[in-house]
Symmetry: C2
Subunit: 342 residues, 2 copies
Amino acid sequence: MSNSRITAQQVAAAAGVSQSAVSRVFTPGASASPRTVAKVQQAARELGYRPNSLARAMVSGKSRMIGLVVAYLQNQFYPDAMEKLSSQLQEKGYHLLVFLAAQTDGDIDRVVSEILDYQVDGIIAASVAMSSDLSERCRQIGVPLVLFNRSQDDPSLSSVTSDNRAGGRQVAEFLLAGGHQRIAYIAGWEGASTQRDREAGFVAALQAAGQSLYARAVGNFKLEDAAAATRQLFDVPAGERPDAVFVANDHMAFKVMDVLRFELGLAVPEEVSVVGYDDVQAAGWQAYDLTTVRQPANQMVSETVRLLLAQIEGENTPPSQIEIGGPLVLRGSARIAKGWKR
Amino acid sequence: MSNSRITAQQVAAAAGVSQSAVSRVFTPGASASPRTVAKVQQAARELGYRPNSLARAMVSGKSRMIGLVVAYLQNQFYPDAMEKLSSQLQEKGYHLLVFLAAQTDGDIDRVVSEILDYQVDGIIAASVAMSSDLSERCRQIGVPLVLFNRSQDDPSLSSVTSDNRAGGRQVAEFLLAGGHQRIAYIAGWEGASTQRDREAGFVAALQAAGQSLYARAVGNFKLEDAAAATRQLFDVPAGERPDAVFVANDHMAFKVMDVLRFELGLAVPEEVSVVGYDDVQAAGWQAYDLTTVRQPANQMVSETVRLLLAQIEGENTPPSQIEIGGPLVLRGSARIAKGWKR
DNA sequence: ATGAAAGCGCTAACAA
DNA sequence: TTGTTAGCGCTTTCAT
């Protein structure tokens, strides 16, 4: 009456065939006579039978589950990417087992261990740092791992990011062309490769043009820290204020703009130009209208899926580090030089 | 060399005990002598053994996975709730298997069927409508189901929502007290219980005060539709314009404010008061500073988890429909009556 | 307290 | 094309 799950055995009995015949009918590339298929399908339909994915996973060694480790979903970039990820994976018959990791290192290890216990076919780690122990363990047990929006030195680790250096460079060139003289930077969490690369590209391009970073503060990718960083940089005599600031991601940039406008009473972009990174949805909202570097989430996700599935299904696909370039999206939060259009 | 997963069998051999001894050591409420425990634990540590969750699920009938069906993550309320959900569940040793469903009915059925194939211990459906077929099927196979942020008439279905009627009522009373004369409403998707209840409470309170809805348009919980609805209501001669608008959720309200301010050139709240629903993070951002009804995501999630686990672990917990009240959060997007403070 | 043995529901050889 | 058989790695009786 209750808790009644129909098994292949029961379907077999009802259809008058063996249990393996039932299995074959539900296995894509298997052989069964049209007659058997018909009998089995009818019995299955009548009984409401569906194969048990877990049992299938046990024997086949393929669970068709992908573990996703993600640190926080406040930054709109992540839910957005996750939605795309989930739907692309679903199309290929895979599903996401989601694990939230606290930022602490130990927690990541614990969480990834738990993921592995579920026999996932692969792991996507979004914005978290992997210990080499951990990635080594994944390799040993043959579970492919792809870093999303974060990269590490280890060349045996696959990763997909935007071209953060190029992005930073574009911002610098754009601000320089706009005639800005005192260009500041609000950094993300210093442990993040994205943060480091964006800053490196930015600073390098500044220096290539004979200018240097006028001021710098750390926002840690956190709203409150970003607010404090903004005050630190801008709550100073007018003559010492930066005239432009590159913020390491959009999420912080919104807060920076709020503090600039509503707390310090500065006009954006008239008194200060602000540029972000990511091009999340809200960057296009007119209240912010944020000039920013686009991270092409769609392509990043596609590449992540492609890379992961190649490693899962393909023979010996070598790991690779993929960087995808994105354009600087010009909006109203930063002064634009006449004739700038690249 | 590769693909080497250690099994309980191998640990048993290394520790010089039976495989069932190993199982017992890794099973919380089992009996084993301190000596056995020590031997097994050491062997396990040396070999890097961890129990296979899937095998455990097969035999125990408990996968410790919860299926989550979610429709879209654009509205910040959902990633936020999901983050809380995931971490609360993780604390109890459960994990989320995530399925994205398109809005289409058929898709929900397909997706829930797939979820059930994974032998999840329970299902949380966020903002999606369940066919009675489907909920019936869950009941038959004994998989508890809780609707999150959506309710249905069916009293056998558990659900957790905010008190949407009361929320709508609060907004009406607040706008009335603010002296607004032409109060409009921008509806969400009409199929959603949240939309219907918010509107019902809102309209009822308006009428109780002898006033009625001045105008209404449908935003479908979508940004573009909300923009169109705003134009429809406000792109009219000044004398006919609403002086206040209640928007069915914050997500749309941001767009409404943008259109009002930047497209139609109307001042908020001087010319138009705007009130939203949800109190997502961005509602507190100063660029919007949106007055809104708070949906207590933390409590809603806690109740969802409590309800679901009670049904999973407890004997025969009856289904229930839980509504959690939330306050109207006063900010700057709506005129406030002198002395209003409830 | 411990080991032997019987499955959980399925897939994948292997025969026939 | 089919049925028979042997497990996948684990938990859980059942003896001991």
